[in-house]
C-alpha cells in the first residue's frame, strides 16, 4: 500500500467512525484500543525507566491501571459518554499501580470531571476534558516536576484548546493531540536533566502517548498488535516466542536478512510491512538487517519481493507456522511423565496436578491423563475435556484437586457425551487418597462412591508465603510471612519455613496420624526438605515421615496426613 492510498483508507475509516456518535460504547472501544496499544508497546515504556529507581516498571503499572479501568466498563451497556468515562476513572483509581498509574488515574478523573453531562462527545467537550485532566493532574502534587507525564498532559490540553479555532471535529482534535503528545514526549529530556543524562524520554509521558495513539490508530483502522517502529540489536532479537502471537490467517513466518541500498526509513519500512502482515520485528547489526513477519499463505513471497526492492538479500527463511504449531502441540501433549496407555473400556482417571513430581505420583497410581494446573493456574473446562475426549473409553473420573477447579470439572462432565464422575477433591493428598481406591474395571458409579469415601481418610496442610497482610480465622498474618493452611483454612503463620512447619505440627493432634508425606515445591531444595523432614522425625518419633519432589509452584510444601 503506498502512502497515498493509505491516506485515503484512513480518511475512509475516519468517516465511518464519524457517522456513529462517540458515546459510551464508542468510548469503550477506544479504551480497549488504548490499552491494547499500550500493552503492545509496554516493553518500550519499561525500557525507558532508568530514572528514579523507586518506580521500576512504568509500562506494566500503566497497563495494569488501564486494565482495571477497562474491567470496570467491560460489561457495561451504558451509552452516555459522561457516565461511562466516570466509570473508567473509577476503575483507574481503584487499580492505580505505582506513581505513573496514580497520575494516569488522575488524568482519567480529570477527563471524567470535564465530561459531566456529556452524552455524546464533540470537539469542544474533548478540549474541555483535556484541560480538566491537566488541572486535576497538577492538583495532585505540590511541586510538579516538568519533563514528566504532567508536562505531556499540559501540552496536549493546550493543543486541544488551541485546535478549537481550526476545527470542532473531535477526531481531528485527537489527531493533533496525538501529534503534540509525541512531540511533547520528545521534549521531556530538555526539561528534566536526569532524562537527558540517561539519554531517554519520560516513560510515563510515553505511556500516555501510546494510549492516545492507540485510540487514533483504532479509528484509523491501523493494527494495534505490532510494536511501533523500533530496531533491536540482532543478538537481542528473540523470535522464539512469536508463536504465541499467531493470528488466524497468518500462516507463514518469513525472516529475511538484507543489506539496504540506502539508509532505511524505518517508519516507511514498517508501514509497508504492516500492509503485508503482522508480528513485525526488525533487528539490526553492523548494517545487516533482519526482518521478521507473519503473513498469509498467498502473500508469503511479498516480504521477500519488497525487501529485494530496497536492499540486497543475504538470507531468507520461510516456515509454515501451522505445521510448526502442531508439532509443538504434539510435543507438549507427549507428557513428560510416563503414563501407561489405557486399556479400552477401563475407567480413565484425569487428575489436575500443579507440579511434575506430583504428576509422576499420579501416573504411578494409574491415572490416564494429567492436566496441569492448580491454585494460581486453573485449567479451563476445555483443558479438562481435551484430556479425556480422545481416550478409548466412555467412563471417566475427574480429580480436580483444588476447590477452584471443581466447577470447571463439573462443567466438563456436563459438556461431554461420556459418562463422567467428578470426585470433588480439594487438595492433592485427597486426590492421591482417592486414587488408592481406584478399581479400573469396576462399575463407574460404585468406583466413584468408593473414591469419594476416601476423601475423609486424609488431611492436608499447605505451606506457602502470604502475599498480603490479613487476619483470617483468627490468625494474624503479615505479608511475606510463611503461612500454613490446614484443610484449606488458615491455621498458623511464622517468619520462616521451618517455623511454620513446627508451629503447624505443634497445633495438630498428631496421635491421629501414622504417615506424613511432604511434597516439596519448586522453590524448595531436596536438601532443605530433608532437613525439615529430619526435624519432624526427631521431634515425633512415632510418625513415619516421607518426602517427595512435588515440583509445584508457590507452595513450599503440600503435606498429606494419613
Amino acid at each position: 500500500m503506498n502512502s497515498e492510498s493509505q491516506q485515503a483508507y484512513i480518511k475512509k475509516r475516519q468517516a465511518r467512525f464519524r457517522t456513529a456518535p462517540i458515546d459510551g460504547q464508542a468510548l469503550k472501544s477506544l479504551i480497549v484500543a488504548g490499552l491494547t496499544w499500550l500493552r503492545t508497546n509496554q516493553e518500550i515504556v519499561n525500557s525507558l525507566n532508568v530514572y528514579p529507581v523507586p518506580d521500576g516498571d512504568t509500562g506494566i503499572n500503566m497497563v495494569l491501571t488501564m486494565q482495571a479501568a477497562y474491567n470496570e466498563i467491560a460489561e457495561s451497556p451504558e451509552r452516555n459518554f459522561g457516565k461511562m468515562i466516570h466509570m473508567v476513572a473509577h476503575g483507574a483509581l481503584m487499580g492505580a499501580r505505582g506513581n505513573s498509574g496514580v497520575i494516569l488515574s488522575q488524568i482519567w478523573r480529570g477527563l471524567a470531571r470535564g465530561s459531566d453531562n456529556i452524552g455524546v462527545l464533540d470537539g469542544p467537550a474533548l478540549a474541555h476534558a483535556f484541560c480538566m485532566a491537566r488541572d486535576t493532574a497538577y492538583q495532585g502534587v505540590v511541586r510538579p516536576v516538568e519533563g514528566t507525564i504532567l508536562t505531556v498532559a499540559k501540552d496536549i490540553a493546550e493543543k486541544a484548546h488551541a485546535s478549537l479555532t481550526e476545527t470542532q471535529d473531535p477526531i481531528e482534535i485527537l489527531e493533533r493531540v496525538v501529534l503534540e503528545a509525541e512531540q511533547s514526549v520528545e521534549r521531556t529530556p530538555e526539561l528534566l536533566d536526569v532524562l537527558k543524562k540517561a539519554g531517554v524520554v519520560d516513560a510515563g509521558g510515553k505511556g500516555l502517548f501510546f494510549i492516545l495513539e492507540g485510540m487514533l490508530r483504532y479509528i484509523n483502522g491501523q493494527s494495534l498488535d505490532t510494536p511501533t517502529a523500533s530496531v533491536q540489536s540482532l543478538s537481542k532479537m528473540s523470535l522464539d516466542d512469536t508463536l504465541e502471537t499467531i493470528e488466524e490467517g497468518q500462516d507463514y513466518e518469513v525472516v529475511v536478512d538484507f543489506r539496504p541500498h540506502k539508509p532505511l526509513n524505518l517508519q516507511e519500512f514498517y508501514s509497508n510491512l504492516e500492509s503485508i502482515g503482522t508480528s513485525i520485528q526488525v533487528g539490526e547489526g553492523e548494517g545487516l538487517y533482519r526482518m521478521h513477519i507473519h503473513v498469509e499463505t498467498d502473500k508469503r513471497y511479498e516480504p521477500i519481493d519488497y525487501t529485494m526492492s530496497i536492499g540486497t538479500i543475504t538470507k531468507v527463511h520461510i516456515e509454515n507456522l501451522i505445521e510448526q504449531m502442531e508439532q509443538i502441540e504434539r510435543q507438549a501433549n507427549t507428557p513428560s511423565v510416563n503414563i501407561p496407555p489405557l486399556e479400552p473400556g477401563q475407567i480413565a482417571v484425569i487428575a489436575v496436578s500443579p507440579g511434575k513430581g506430583i504428576s509422576q505420583v499420579f501416573a504411578s497410581l494409574g491415572v490416564a491423563g494429567i492436566v496441569e494446573g492448580g491454585q494460581t493456574m486453573n485449567p479451563s473446562t476445555e483443558d479438562l475435556l481435551d484430556a479425556f475426549e480422545d481416550l478409548p473409553t466412555d467412563k471417566v473420573i475427574l480429580l480436580p484437586n483444588n476447590k477452584n477447579i471443581i466447577m470447571a470439572a463439573n462443567n466438563a462432565a456436563e459438556l461431554t457425551v461420556k459418562k463422567v464422575a467428578v470426585i470433588p477433591t480439594r487438595t492433592i493428598p485427597q486426590g492421591l487418597a482417592a486414587m488408592f481406591r481406584l478399581t479400573p474395571h469396576g462399575d463407574l458409579d460404585a468406583v466413584a462412591e468408593e473414591m469419594n469415601a476416601a476423601l475423609d481418610d486424609v488431611d492436608t496442610a499447605e505451606i506457602t508465603t502470604a502475599i498480603r497482610s490479613v487476619e483470617i480465622d483468627g490468625v494474624n498474618v503479615k505479608e511475606g510471612e510463611t503461612i500454613a493452611l490446614f484443610n484449606g483454612k488458615l491455621f498458623t503463620s511464622a517468619k520462616s519455613l521451618e517455623g511454620a512447619c513446627t508451629a503447624l505440627l505443634e497445633k495438630l493432634e498428631l496421635d491421629e496420624y501414622e504417615l506424613i508425606t511432604l511434597f516439596y515445591g519448586e522453590e524448595v531444595s531436596n536438601h532443605a526438605a530433608n532437613l525439615i523432614a529430619d526435624g519432624i522425625r526427631a521431634s515425633h518419633p512415632m510418625l513415619e515421615v516421607e518426602i517427595q519432589d512435588g515440583g509445584q509452584p508457590h507452595y513450599q510444601f503440600i503435606i498429606s496426613f494419613e
Binding site: 528514579p52 523507586p54 518506580d55 483509581l93 505505582g98 506513581n99 496514580v102 502534587v141
Partner: protein, 118 residues
C-alpha cells in the same frame, strides 16, 4: 549511624538534615500535598507544616535509620499507591544523599485535601 569517622575527623548528619531531604522528596511525590504535624494534639489537623521536623521523625539507632513521615494526600488518588510511592522515593533520596541504607520508612497518612468533589 549518625556519624562516620574519617582519618581527619568525623562526619555527623543531624536528624534535621535527614528530615529536610525526606520532606523535599515527599513534596515531589505525586499525590502528596504536604506534611502534617505529627502530634495532632498540638495543632489543627488541616494545617500543613512548613518545618520538616514537624512532619518527619528521624530515628537513629546504631546502623538503623528509621523515618516516619506524616503526610496529607490529595483526595481522589489511590492512597495505598501514593503512600508506597512516597516510601520508595524518600528511601531512595535519603539513601542517595546519606550513602547508607535506610532501614524503614513508615508513612502515616494524616489526612486528605479535597480540591474537587467528583
Amino acid at each position: 549511624m549518625t556519624g562516620e569517622i574519617t582519618p581527619i575527623g568525623s562526619i555527623h548528619v543531624s536528624p534535621r538534615a535527614v528530615a529536610r531531604i525526606a520532606h523535599q522528596a515527599a513534596l515531589e511525590s505525586y499525590g502528596v500535598v504536604g506534611l502534617a504535624p505529627k502530634n495532632l494534639m498540638n495543632n489543627l489537623t488541616n494545617v500543613l507544616v512548613k518545618d520538616p521536623m514537624q512532619g518527619v521523625e528521624v530515628h537513629y539507632d546504631g546502623e538503623i535509620v528509621i523515618i516516619d513521615m506524616y503526610i496529607v494526600i490529595e483526595y481522589g488518588t489511590r492512597i495505598k499507591s501514593v503512600a508506597s510511592s512516597v516510601a520508595n522515593t524518600v528511601k531512595y533520596h535519603v539513601e542517595k544523599a546519606l550513602g547508607m541504607p535506610v532501614t524503614q520508612v513508615n508513612v502515616h497518612v494524616s489526612g486528605l485535601r479535597i480540591s474537587n468533589w467528583d
